[in-house]
Amino acid sequence: MSNEVGSFAVKKGLAQMLKGGVIMDVVTPEHARIAEDAGACAVMALERVPADIRADGGVARMSDPELILKIMDTVSIPVMAKCRIGHFVEAQILEALGVDYIDESEVLTPADEANHIYKHDFKVPFVCGCRNLGEALRRIGEGAAMIRTKGEAGTGDVVEAVRHARQVLGDIRHLQSMPIEEVMSFSKSIGAPFELVLETRKLGKLPVVNFAAGGIATPADAALMMQLGVEGVFVGSGIFKSGDPAKRANAVVKAVTHFNDPKMLAEISRNLGEPMVGRQISSIADNELLAKRGW
C-alpha cells in the first residue's frame, strides 16, 4: 500500500470538510469552547482579535505557542493559527505545534514585502487572503490549499468583503466568457500562473475552497457572502466583540446553513443582542487598511 502524508489532495481536502461552515477567531480556551458548542467548524487561535490589533497598533506577530496549544487541547474541531506574510519560520513553528491550518495573514504585520511563503514545502495546509483572481492564483501557485477573500478585518463593515468576493467571482465569470486566445494575455494582466488560469476557466471556480472574511458581523452578513458565491465564512471580531457571543456565534452558523432561506434567516436573526460596534471603512486612512498587505 502506498501511503502519502500531507499531499495536496489531503491539504485541500480539509478545506472541503470546512465548507458550509463558520471559522471563528478565539483568544482563550473558553472562547474556543463557546465557538465549538455554537457549531463552529474550526477556530482560529490568536492573542488579539483584529479589532484589538487595529486599536492597539504596533507590530502584530504569531501568537504564543502556549496559548495555541491550550486551545488545541480544549476543542476537538480543527485549530488554525496565523503567521506573518513571508515569515516561514513562524510557519515552521506552527507546523511543529501541530496546528491543522496556517493562515498566512495580512492581519499580522508582514515580515516580507515582496515574497510570500513557499507553502508546498509544508505538510500543514495554508489559507491565504486575496482581493482578486490574480492574487488568489498567485497564492495557490505558492501552495495555498484554501483561499479567503480579505475584506477588511476588525471593522464589522462588510463592504470590503463584498467588494473582494464580487471581484474574484466576477474575474472568473469574465475569464470563462472570453475566447481562449485571450487567456494568456489575461493571465499576464492579472499576474497569475497560466496553468492555474486555465484550470479555473475549466472549473468555473477557484481550484481550492474559497471562504469570505473581513467584516462579517451578523447572520445576514454571512448569508450575503454565501449568496454571492463563497463556500463558507470566517468571523473574527464580530462574535466576541458582540453583546452575546454564544448566541451570535450559533446564529451565524445557522445562517450559513440556511443562507438561501429568508424565512429561516428572519427567525435566526431575532433577538441576538448588540452586534460589535462597527467602524466604517471610509473613515479609515488608506495606509491603515490591512487588505493592501500581500503581493
Binding site: 500500500m1 502506498s2 501511503n3 502519502e4 502524508v5 500531507g6 499531499s7 489532495a9 489531503v10 491539504k11 481536502g13 480539509l14 472541503q16 470538510m17 470546512l18 465548507k19 458550509g20 461552515g21 465549538e36 458548542d37 455554537a38 457549531g39 463552529a40 467548524c41 474550526a42 488545541m72 476537538s76 474541531i77 480543527p78 507546523e95 501541530g98 496546528v99 491543522d100 491550518y101 505538510k123 500543514v124 495546509p125 450559533n250 452558523v253 445557522k254 450559513v256 446553513t257 440556511h258 432561506d261
Partner: protein, 217 residues
C-alpha cells in the same frame, strides 16, 4: 405523489435495468461539509439528488448520504433544527451512508459527548490518526467492490483527520482494513460507514456500491 408513480408505470414497459437507476432519488445531508462533492459524484452517475436541510426534504427519498465535515457542527445543527429524530426514523427504513463525520454520526459512541444518530452497532474514535498534519492518502483493498466492478483494483482512499471504527457488533460486515487490523469501512444491513472520503476521489465505485445496496433491497 402522483408524479412519482407515473414514471414507474412507464418504466415497467422497458426491459429490466434500463433507466432504473434514474428512478432512484438520494438525499445528501447539507447542514455543513462536503455535500457538493457527493452530489457531483451522483450527478455523474445520472442519479437524482436533493440537498437535505429540513425534515420535509426527507420524503420520497430512497437513500441518504451524510457527508464529511465536522460531526459536532452537524450534530449541533441537526439538534437545533429538530432533525435528529426524523433522521433516525428515516434511517430505520432506508439506506444511509456516512463518510468520515457521517460515519461518526451513524455510530453509537464516538468517545465524545455529542449528538449521534446511533443507528449502527459500531463505535468510532474521532481523529484516531492524529491531527491534519498526519492526514494521508492510501490505496485500500476493498473486496466488496467486486459487486460493482470485477477489476479488484485498490481504492484510492483519502483520510482527513479521520475516525477509526473501533468496535463492531455481530451483524456488522467489515469491508476494509488499514494497517492489517484497523477497521475503516463497514456495512450493517442498509447502512454503510467509511472513515475516508470516496467523494474526494475520482473513483465512483463506493457510490455505485451504495446504489447497489439500495437496488438490491
Amino acid at each position: 405523489m402522483g408524479v412519482r408513480y407515473l414514471p414507474s408505470l412507464i418504466m415497467s414497459y422497458l426491459p429490466s435495468g434500463v433507466g432504473k437507476r434514474n428512478m432512484i432519488k438520494i438525499g445528501i445531508l447539507a447542514l455543513q461539509g462536503d455535500f457538493d462533492e457527493h452530489q457531483k459524484m451522483l450527478d455523474g452517475l445520472g442519479i437524482n439528488t436533493i440537498q437535505v436541510r429540513k425534515s420535509n426534504q426527507l420524503t420520497n427519498l430512497d437513500g441518504l448520504i451524510i457527508p464529511g465535515g465536522e460531526s459536532t457542527t452537524m450534530g449541533k445543527l441537526a439538534t437545533d433544527f429538530q432533525l435528529m429524530e426524523d433522521l433516525r426514523t428515516f434511517a430505520m427504513r432506508h439506506a444511509v451512508w456516512g463518510t468520515c463525520a457521517g460515519a461518526i454520526l451513524l455510530s453509537k459512541n464516538s468517545g465524545h459527548v455529542q449528538p449521534l444518530l446511533g443507528v449502527m452497532d459500531i463505535t468510532t474514535a474521532r481523529n484516531a490518526f492524529g491531527r491534519q498534519v498526519e492526514s494521508f492518502e492510501i490505496d485500500l483493498n476493498v473486496p466488496a467492490l467486486k459487486v460493482v466492478d470485477p477489476s479488484d483494483a485498490p481504492f484510492p482512499a483519502i483520510f482527513i483527520r479521520a475516525p477509526l471504527i473501533e468496535t463492531t457488533g455481530p451483524g456488522v460486515e467489515i469491508l476494509a482494513y488499514i494497517n492489517d487490523d484497523q477497521v475503516v469501512a463497514v456495512r450493517e444491513d442498509q447502512w454503510l460507514a467509511t472513515s475516508f472520503h470516496p467523494e474526494l476521489s475520482t473513483d465512483n465505485r463506493f457510490h455505485r456500491y451504495f446504489l447497489e445496496m439500495i437496488q438490491s433491497k
